[in-house]
Symmetry: T
Subunit: 148 residues, 12 copies
Amino acid sequence: MRILVINGPNLNLLGQREPDVYGAVSLAEIEARLARRAAALGVASLVCRQSNHEGELVTWIQEAPGQCDGLILNPAAYTHTSVAVRDALAAVHLPCIEVHLSNTHAREAFRHVSLTAPLCLGQIQGLGPLGYELALEALVNTLNRPQK
Amino acid sequence: MRILVINGPNLNLLGQREPDVYGAVSLAEIEARLARRAAALGVASLVCRQSNHEGELVTWIQEAPGQCDGLILNPAAYTHTSVAVRDALAAVHLPCIEVHLSNTHAREAFRHVSLTAPLCLGQIQGLGPLGYELALEALVNTLNRPQK
Amino acid sequence: MRILVINGPNLNLLGQREPDVYGAVSLAEIEARLARRAAALGVASLVCRQSNHEGELVTWIQEAPGQCDGLILNPAAYTHTSVAVRDALAAVHLPCIEVHLSNTHAREAFRHVSLTAPLCLGQIQGLGPLGYELALEALVNTLNRPQK
Amino acid sequence: MRILVINGPNLNLLGQREPDVYGAVSLAEIEARLARRAAALGVASLVCRQSNHEGELVTWIQEAPGQCDGLILNPAAYTHTSVAVRDALAAVHLPCIEVHLSNTHAREAFRHVSLTAPLCLGQIQGLGPLGYELALEALVNTLNRPQK
Amino acid sequence: MRILVINGPNLNLLGQREPDVYGAVSLAEIEARLARRAAALGVASLVCRQSNHEGELVTWIQEAPGQCDGLILNPAAYTHTSVAVRDALAAVHLPCIEVHLSNTHAREAFRHVSLTAPLCLGQIQGLGPLGYELALEALVNTLNRPQK
Amino acid sequence: MRILVINGPNLNLLGQREPDVYGAVSLAEIEARLARRAAALGVASLVCRQSNHEGELVTWIQEAPGQCDGLILNPAAYTHTSVAVRDALAAVHLPCIEVHLSNTHAREAFRHVSLTAPLCLGQIQGLGPLGYELALEALVNTLNRPQK
Amino acid sequence: MRILVINGPNLNLLGQREPDVYGAVSLAEIEARLARRAAALGVASLVCRQSNHEGELVTWIQEAPGQCDGLILNPAAYTHTSVAVRDALAAVHLPCIEVHLSNTHAREAFRHVSLTAPLCLGQIQGLGPLGYELALEALVNTLNRPQK
Amino acid sequence: MRILVINGPNLNLLGQREPDVYGAVSLAEIEARLARRAAALGVASLVCRQSNHEGELVTWIQEAPGQCDGLILNPAAYTHTSVAVRDALAAVHLPCIEVHLSNTHAREAFRHVSLTAPLCLGQIQGLGPLGYELALEALVNTLNRPQK
Amino acid sequence: MRILVINGPNLNLLGQREPDVYGAVSLAEIEARLARRAAALGVASLVCRQSNHEGELVTWIQEAPGQCDGLILNPAAYTHTSVAVRDALAAVHLPCIEVHLSNTHAREAFRHVSLTAPLCLGQIQGLGPLGYELALEALVNTLNRPQK
Amino acid sequence: MRILVINGPNLNLLGQREPDVYGAVSLAEIEARLARRAAALGVASLVCRQSNHEGELVTWIQEAPGQCDGLILNPAAYTHTSVAVRDALAAVHLPCIEVHLSNTHAREAFRHVSLTAPLCLGQIQGLGPLGYELALEALVNTLNRPQK
Amino acid sequence: MRILVINGPNLNLLGQREPDVYGAVSLAEIEARLARRAAALGVASLVCRQSNHEGELVTWIQEAPGQCDGLILNPAAYTHTSVAVRDALAAVHLPCIEVHLSNTHAREAFRHVSLTAPLCLGQIQGLGPLGYELALEALVNTLNRPQK
Amino acid sequence: MRILVINGPNLNLLGQREPDVYGAVSLAEIEARLARRAAALGVASLVCRQSNHEGELVTWIQEAPGQCDGLILNPAAYTHTSVAVRDALAAVHLPCIEVHLSNTHAREAFRHVSLTAPLCLGQIQGLGPLGYELALEALVNTLNRPQK
């Protein structure tokens, strides 16, 4: 079982960026925690990527089918504006869980809409770094279920 | 640590109701799984309630502060229509996580709006019964953190 | 063949309530007329209920599958606001016909939207108490058709 | 008692047109059933017309007062777009019942609005060909009531 | 100088149709008054037409350039719904004045929008039959002005 | 002269609930103050009720005509969502004044709309507990005026 | 018969202001033409006023009942923004005709709405200075009709 | 304690203006009643002003801090259109209560929005002239409370 | 292979009508070009019709299945307003391509919506008379593909 | 080179009014700074005016062409509501630059729309008193450029 | 004659991506077909590019004037979201035709809006790979026409 | 004092691109002018960058805190569509001024909204290349003020 974690724009600043919104934990720490949980869950490979470029997120999602069995995706700002990322998710047939560190429902109205979530299995938001770990557990759980 | 789980209208039908949307697991089974996870996480008390009445959900949330340290809430249909449940959440000062079995972003437009989520820590949706367990882990994690 | 008739809020006031909108016939009289028509149509059992509580309407619809073969539903005010009643209709698989005494298209704009009608076979409105009788005939007609 | 039945665009195709939406019964059969019911109800004259032209529907409604005592109208597509048909209904003072074969509330959003229904006594929809018969019964019932 | 007057749907009913909205004067009387005023203004030819058919209004406007020097148009219901009449007006290069008997601003919101008025010189509304006469004076005045 | 005071959801928490929005005075204290003012104004009977259930508010309003001469109503959250409470007010013919403790115009946009206020004589908001007393004075004043 | 003509903001600039929109005729010339037509129509007194102040327009309308029998009003920019002018028109019971020099339907969308027109008998627009004269004829015609 | 009462456009016509909407009591009578109540409440100075000019209302509110301790404001039509009055209220730090004679929620939709109310302590509407007296009592009550 | 070409309102004026929008080529010339291309593509029969009547377009589409194998449709103004033409397309099961001479996306906002396009295979717009020829090639191409 | 500076409602309160929004500098100080900058830039005459009256702003703009070569305009609240000020700007042909002290994009949604800015050369906002000086430099720069 | 073909995000996946929406033909095959057609049409150079990056599409369009005489553009997801691509099209003065493989009118509402189409000559959609060939023919046809 | 100037998509084309909208001055010339003004203002370092890539703008803003003391940002097309650039601005704590060469309020409606401006100190638009120089002066002025 191989999992790809894709983080969108500005998430490379975690820990520095608006800590009262996004928390004080850096992306590297989140990835380290995720790696520990992945090991505990028997995940063979966990790859983490981050980009500020919409087009790069699209390309990584396109290439994912040959490289992993499932996706954890935090499209950040592109959640609300990117039809391209949405279309990439529709083009590949990998289970994907969307994660947001903050509770988007408690923020500006334009963050209440997710163009990408309808193409995912589900969404976890507002639970900080732990949200990634919970998404990982859910994804492993899904991949371990007999496919229908 | 005591946790209260409140389920809203029609969730008593789980397993029978639209199984391709909500899955084939009954509410009793979900509660049993949650109880096992709660025990593993060291939760002293886990109480689960379900009601079809908006007013009853309001009352249970009002009474929660004396009875538990945190809430897991699936307001179901009232997510999208109940200012009263929202106001009850605002009135008590308990950490709460909102759960939905299905992925509301992939359903009718009126389900994309949550009146209650802005008053919660976060939201987990589309991950089926496992979503409750993940919410429990997140809630325990929050309650174990030193309060600021 | 067993039929359940469920009436929503304020319909217990029929005959007294805004008679130029809803007419001068009481709910008891409507039920009596319906009973006569039911007998004429060979309906074995006709049960009529009314509640002002959204949650009670939800519960009655949930319990209907074991108790009847079809529903006549006038959700009254909840027609326009209740996702919970809509979800209950989606959860049971009984044929249902929605009835309104007044012509909602000739009233306030918020009454032009029905959250529940999409889950019903059809809708009869503006024909006063006779609307219930016509709904009964349509329901019996549907139940007598060979199921596909 | 004389009744005029007016059907709008594409209803001449009934039985052929989208049978899973509109059913397999032809317009001629519907008219034959209606004629039998009219006879049973003591209706002296039942005339049925169909046109694809908005202007023709307008003209027929204008001429109706001298030719009948009440109208059954299925404006089909013009329900949602024709102010002209609406104005024609406002100009004559005949009781009219609007009928739709399909349940418009379960279809595209633009079919949820009826420009013509506010000028009718009421509306029956989603009950297939039987809807016309029920409308006839309601119309006869109205015409037999002492006028106020 | 030749003038064509085109009246849209239901205006043939004037005098009978909703007299508190449209007044008690028939279309024939309006045309007679217009003819007298036309004579007084030195108009060589005044032709008046009425149709309930959108397509016929379109055709008459298309044919107008060879037959008249200016148009008086009351599109009635089609004012608010007909792109086809609007496009016909754009296709011919005749001065046109739009007339409404009633004050559309004091009626339903859908009557506040005119698709045709932007293609006319101006609009007169709410002044009853006299509105046509005033439009005629304005049209003659325009046609008598040296063209720029 | 008999007055009924009906309070909606979450108002039982007054004094505890968001004190910077709703103040530090409990519902019992408000009712005690109201009782004193009622006595001073010569009100024979003052009954105060509170419920979190929309249906219960509907029922109490329905039963009011036999029990009181006027209503003071704070529908709280149901102000913005309940057609059922609105319909109950329309069904009874009692003078009613709507009260809100906080200034709803200074809060979320969904609180700017009141479904119930159009059925009341008037509305007092933002004046805290004193608002009830002022509503009482206005109601007594209305009931003492000779009816037209 | 006495007529008051009230012109709103920027109409004092006529002739200079955007001549391709408003024409090259000054307000003084328009008033002179109107005076000639008034004399021809037997109007005893014609008073013309112009102000850039919304409040002054309100005051003049308020004072009109003692000073004239009818109003011609071009509220200019205040047509689209002034509830105060609208309320003044509702407060007095004088027949009023609204005039616009340009065709507002052919301009920006915010000019398609008139707050004041619903309180007038009718509206003439797009016919330039002649529009005032036609409004005068319509107003005299109305005042000469036996009042109902 | 000094109170300033500011009334907006058309309120000088009270008693004459639309008496079924605004009542038959003149502004002078309202002010006289208010003066009596002010005396009873121990108010040292009560000044009442009315203007049809938005700018004058702005200026009076600006000058209020040196002249009074609190405001009663009925902005009338400017309630719904004046950002300038709103900004004036934000600029001064005086407690203010908004009053409307009629129940704006029962009138046109554009009257349901108040630009000024969010800057006031609260709002009283629909209670006629008594509304001013109740606002006075509330204002005195607020000013007598120890400031926080 | 037989093809029917249906043109809607005002297209009979091509060449005369707004030549900077629609070009200088007449409908007859377009049909002649199409005939040549049809011959080159091996189309057995090419019939071209034009009507200003919505109802006639509906009728021609209804009758098409017996007369041709595919449709080229330019509904012109009815593109944006006709549910009736849309319903006719849904009723027949012929491949259809929608053509517009001008680029509707570069014109008024109401032309950006097509009620008919969702029922067509595709749409060609803004390419002038050549658009019909390209549509013909695409239609022939579709009809020559083995049906799935 | 002569410049006119026009400030709208409530700007006379600068320094006192909401200092965290508008800063602590008074209007007199802003005008003094502007005068110094004007002298440095070789401006022959700098006149500054402020009014709370929409009509007065309109009049000053109307009179500007004879008195100055360019305008600096801060319409304050009227930015968002005044068609009259917009029309005055359209009527005169003077270069104008709009200034706002605060950043309107960071405030309430109704402040994001400017009715007047489309008639100006450009807009400077959020830069406090310096914004006026920068506008002056831009205006002088424009007036010194050879006119095209 | 040189033509540049630019394809946007996810079009590199053609043949694999949602084949029931986009067909089973790969982008390479489409380019091969286009090359054959280009040769037949006498096109000297045909260059095809694809990118998932909005910025790269912008850059290619900017550089196009020196490299080609016309553009075929399928902006894919960026059709609906990219003002930057739109602005690039406005900046260069090359004829461009927009192509979509699927019929966007038959898909989600957000795909009905094209930000780029208003800057193109026209648009072909829903005709699959053939659409590119037809666009090529139209572009060649345009470039061969004498420029006006 | 170090300043970073970031220009978004298509601004590299300045001088060539739509010169009647954006002027005839190239980006290099603007940067040269800015450098001269920076020197005059005592700015130690002025770095100018331009990119067509949203992601590159995000990265540059992220990296700015270590490299400069303030930002001048013209996000061009991304002003209206980029939540990612907005989030980058929120993540760094540098003063930023938004500049637009053209007056966006006088262009298409979608250009009236700025997602980025609320995160800036202020905005200058419509003043051409000079706008950058004025922004520089304002930024230097801000940075020279003692920080609060």
